[in-house]
């Protein structure tokens, strides 16, 4: 038995030598040459921004025209200036002159125009369909002409990494060339991505010469962290309660939210384009929706279902620069909820604990995706929380298939969260009612619609933000938020949890969008070694 152990130990020593520098070797006060991260995020179809690579976190190999700072403000990157024409249709962007692709060629307006044109036709995961035409005006000025005004187009300038026109061939996704902080060394599909610092990068150079991303599952990532093989591991919050020697848990705030959408209209027998029923006679009453918003104890959901790793959510864009705090409701107040229902005529006259009005019982079904334990926990807890106020919610775990058919007639528990306010537009605009999973409740309010449209048509971000805020709650108290129409009952924002080496300083991470793991790389060039 002992001999077997010795042989295996021998194998291990050999492997240890071959594995090269580990993060542990940085204990002498020096930044290690190599950093290893297990945060997932592999892009199976490669690293081509025109197909959607880099829409979260850092695109590593490419750089973008604009970017968001840790507070999510829009700041320049490749661009030195940008302006939008008065009709909102022409975006003019000036480029910096010192940026070079990793093959030594300069980044020109031609490349930017090419990238936007290619992305608008690629059929990938970045939606640039608003673009009519991209024109290089001169060597460092590009003009992006849109089909319709779209203030949120700024997010394409933020997320679309610029590719070189001269080297964007068939194998680009596997051999990316760009002007970003890193260059590709090797990609072992399904296993790891090895990148190296781009010494010619024009921005803040990363502190680490090489970064290795391993693409392990959640369990294996935690195992790797415990074995001391990685400096960072993204783990679900349910695994974050364990302790890992030499590592701390870093919970990162997110706008990765969960909320309940209510059918906003009454059931009049109408059907959607694919023959699904529309409307619900209980949730179409504002009093019911507001009462549920009041009755739900969101802090208890955070503590109970998320084990503390989250925060109460009262809107779809909590913490974003375009969030309107006055649209929120503070805490929970079951007494007020009951009062709302009483006033609206919902009374429990037959004494069965459920209120009714004109023969309609205050009950409805809440659908959630069955294999998602967090959604299940939230749905069951909410049903318990509204029982005392005389409303019966029947939670039902189903597949997307069933949700697709019922989402306009039953309440559904959804998860959203984006750095792009287009999402808010899609969730609440009457024009998007019944389109995809957007506005499934057929919410419509002309005042809110006017604000949403004004925000979309704005030609500068400050104006857009003003109208985004007004859509949540304006000076007269109108809005889709819980204090207004209460079209949704938002419940919680998740926190994304990471085990991070005690020596690794990741600075102040951005509030992360829907999606755990890769978004933390947004600040990767600023990460430092502190031991």
């Amino acid at each position: 038995m002992k001999r077997v152990g010795m042989v295996l130990a021998g194998v291990l020593v050999l492997a240890g030598c071959a594995a090269g520098v580990d993060s542990k070797s940085g204990s002498g006060g020096q930044t290690p040459k190599e950093l290893r991260l297990a945060i997932g995020g592999e892009s199976a179809d490669g690293y081509d921004p025109t197909l959607g690579w880099g829409r979260y976190g850092s695109p590593l190999f490419q750089s973008t025209l604009l970017t968001r700072d840790p507070e999510l403000n829009v700041v320049n990157d490749l661009a030195t200036k940008h302006s939008v024409s008065a009709n909102g249709l022409v975006w003019t962007v000036d480029l910096r002159a010192d940026a070079k692709f990793s093959d030594g060629k300069p980044v020109t307006a031609e490349d930017v125009a090419y990238t936007f044109t290619a992305a608008s036709k690629s059929g990938g995961l970045t939606d640039v369909t608003a673009l009519a035409k991209a024109v290089a005006v001169d060597n460092d000025t590009v003009e992006l002409q849109l089909k319709r005004p779209q203030s949120t187009f700024v997010n394409r300038l933020i997320s679309l990494g610029i590719v070189p026109k001269h080297a964007h061939g068939k194998d680009y996704a596997r051999k990316p060339i760009g002007s970003g902080p890193f260059t590709l060394v090797q990609w072992d599909q399904g296993q790891q991505l090895i990148v190296q610092r781009n010494e010619n990068y024009y921005g803040t150079k990363p502190a680490f010469e090489r970064i290795v991303f391993t693409f392990t599952g959640e369990d294996a990532s935690l195992a790797a962290a415990k074995a001391g093989q990685v400096s960072m591991a993204a783990v679900p919050s349910s695994l974050a309660k364990t302790t890992v020697a030499g590592m701390k848990v870093v919970p990162v705030k997110s706008v990765d939210n969960r909320g309940i959408v209510f059918p906003y209209v009454a059931d009049t027998g109408k059907k959607s384009a694919d023959a699904g029923p529309i409307g619900n006679n209980v949730t179409s009453d504002k009093a019911v929706r507001q009462a549920i918003n009041q009755a739900v104890d969101r802090q208890a959901l955070v503590d109970g279902v998320l084990e503390g790793y989250g925060s109460p959510a009262t809107g779809p864009v909590d913490g974003m620069p375009w969030y309107e705090p006055s649209s929120a409701i503070q805490g929970n107040d079951p007494a007020k909820a009951e009062e709302l229902l009483e006033t609206a005529g919902w009374k429990d006259s037959d004494g069965d604990g459920i209120r009714e009005r004109a023969g309609v019982k205050a009950e409805f079904t809440l659908l959630y995706k069955a294999d998602d334990t967090i959604r299940q926990g939230l749905a069951l807890s909410v049903a318990d929380m509204v029982k005392p106020i005389g409303v019966r919610i029947t939670p039902k775990g189903v597949s997307w298939d069933v949700i697709d058919k019922r989402l306009h007639a039953d309440a559904v528990l959804f998860g959203w969260g984006s750095h792009d306010p287009s999402e808010m537009y899609n969730l609440y605009s009457a024009t998007q009612a019944g389109v995809e999973y957007w506005n499934p409740g057929y919410y419509t309010n002309p005042i809110v619609q006017k604000n949403l449209d004004a925000a979309m048509a704005a030609t500068d971000q400050a104006t857009a933000t003003k109208f985004w805020k007004a859509a949540q709650r304006d000076a007269q108290g109108n809005g889709f938020g819980p204090a207004g129409d209460a079209a949704w009952a938002w419940l919680v924002n998740l926190q994304h949890t990471y085990f991070v080496s005690d020596c690794l300083d990741v600075g102040k991470p951005q509030i992360e969008p829907h999606g755990h793991g890769w978004p933390i790389t947004a600040g990767i060039t600023g990460w430092r070694w502190s031991c």
Binding site: L8, A9, V11, L12, L14, A15, A18, A19, G20, E34, R36, A44, D45, G46, D48, L51, G52, R55, K121, S122, G123, G124, L125, T126, D127, T129, A173, R174, V185, Q186, D188, Q189, G190, Q191, Q192, I194, R210, V212, T214, T216, G217, D219, A220, A223, A224, A227, Q229, S399, W400, D401, W416, S418, S422, E423, L427, V435, E436, Y437, W438, H514
Partner: protein
């Protein structure tokens, strides 16, 4: 001679028919699947991808043509040797399979040999010592193994050997951070060890239990009693008289288990982030990557079919009685 050629010919015809049936059935299943390929591809980005963009995606993948037409096009391309393009991996299907198959083959070959050797040895020991404690322990162990899920066994092994003892790596087929050229054979074996062991556990139990039974039958036969009466020791008995007779079921099982081996590799590869065909199959199925999934289905069919045919041949060689039976039939 002519009969041998005829037998090969008929086997080939059967294979072609089988492939056609598998292709048609797999395609029908994919076409009837409730998973919308565009939804699967868009995933969590559903809020950011509008109808216009979705139409582009569908166009790029040729989803707008009617299913029969798509199948026809695919068949015509296959006939020309073109397996199509995988949208999941943004790569020609042939490249995806070629890249992953070698990794998978190494894993499956090692696991297959291990499960055969260990299973057969344990089965022989149990059969010879039938009813004794060795038999009870082995039988109990076999039952436990056959009821333990691969995924779970993999995780246990991972925690025991990679986290606590740190003898084996946590993931992947190559050392983390190593450049391809620097990876030696020893490294590869080291990374193969635990996934292969996990995968082999799937196949051990059936081989062990069947072999045990066959050995027990052989041990109770008249010729063993006769040999024993001539003074042969147990070891000699097993070596000269039992092994060949008991090997039949083991060999058949072992060759016919290739399908299960492939299924098990999907799970084992997932636990150890081992990038083989199993992982690609999951990705293809979840992403509704029809060309890739069909190609893998065909590939697996050939693989399993050849395995079964080899099993027949080896079994016939080991046990001439089956050979005669085939000829008279």
């Amino acid at each position: 001679m002519t009969s041998a050629l005829g037998s090969i010919g008929s086997r080939l015809i059967r294979l072609v028919l089988l492939l056609a049936a598998v292709a048609a059935a797999s395609f029908a299943l994919m076409a009837a699947s409730p998973v919308d390929p565009v939804d699967a591809y868009v995933g969590g980005d559903i809020a950011a991808i509008g109808p216009e963009q979705r139409a582009q995606i569908a166009e790029r993948w040729g989803l707008n043509d009617p299913p029969l037409e798509r199948f026809g096009t695919w068949l015509a391309n296959i006939a020309r040797g073109d397996l199509g393009y995988s949208h999941t991996f943004n790569q020609p299907v042939a490249d995806v399979i070629a890249g992953k198959f070698l990794t998978s083959l190494a894993l499956m070959a090692v696991a297959w040999s291990l499960s055969g050797l260990i299973g057969f040895t344990l089965g022989v020991v149990a059969g010879v010592r039938r009813g004794r404690w060795a038999d009870r322990v082995i039988t109990w162990w076999a039952y436990t193994l056959s009821s333990a899920p691969t995924f779970w066994v993999g995780l246990l092994l991972l925690y025991a050997f990679s986290v606590s003892l740190q003898w084996t790596p946590i993931c992947c087929a190559v050392p983390v951070g190593s450049i391809a050229g620097e990876v030696g054979l020893l490294d590869r074996l080291h990374h193969l060890l635990l996934p292969a062991l996990t995968l082999s556990l799937v196949g051990i139990a059936p081989v062990t239990l069947h072999t045990r039974q066959a050995v027990a039958v052989a041990m109770a036969s008249d010729y063993i009693a006769f040999a024993r009466a001539q003074g042969e020791r147990t070891f000699g008995l097993v070596l000269h008289h039992v092994l060949r007779n008991a090997a039949g079921p083991a060999v058949l099982l072992q060759f016919s288990s290739l399908g299960e081996l492939f299924g098990g590799s999907v799970l084992a590869e997932q636990v150890f982030s081992y990038p083989g065909l199993g992982a690609a199959t999951t990705a293809a199925a979840l992403g509704q990557d029809v060309p890739l999934l069909l190609a893998i289905a065909l590939f697996t069919t050939v693989f399993v079919y050849v395995g079964n045919q080899l099993g027949d041949l080896v079994h016939a060689w080991l046990d001439p009685r089956t050979h005669r039976a085939e000829v008279t039939a």
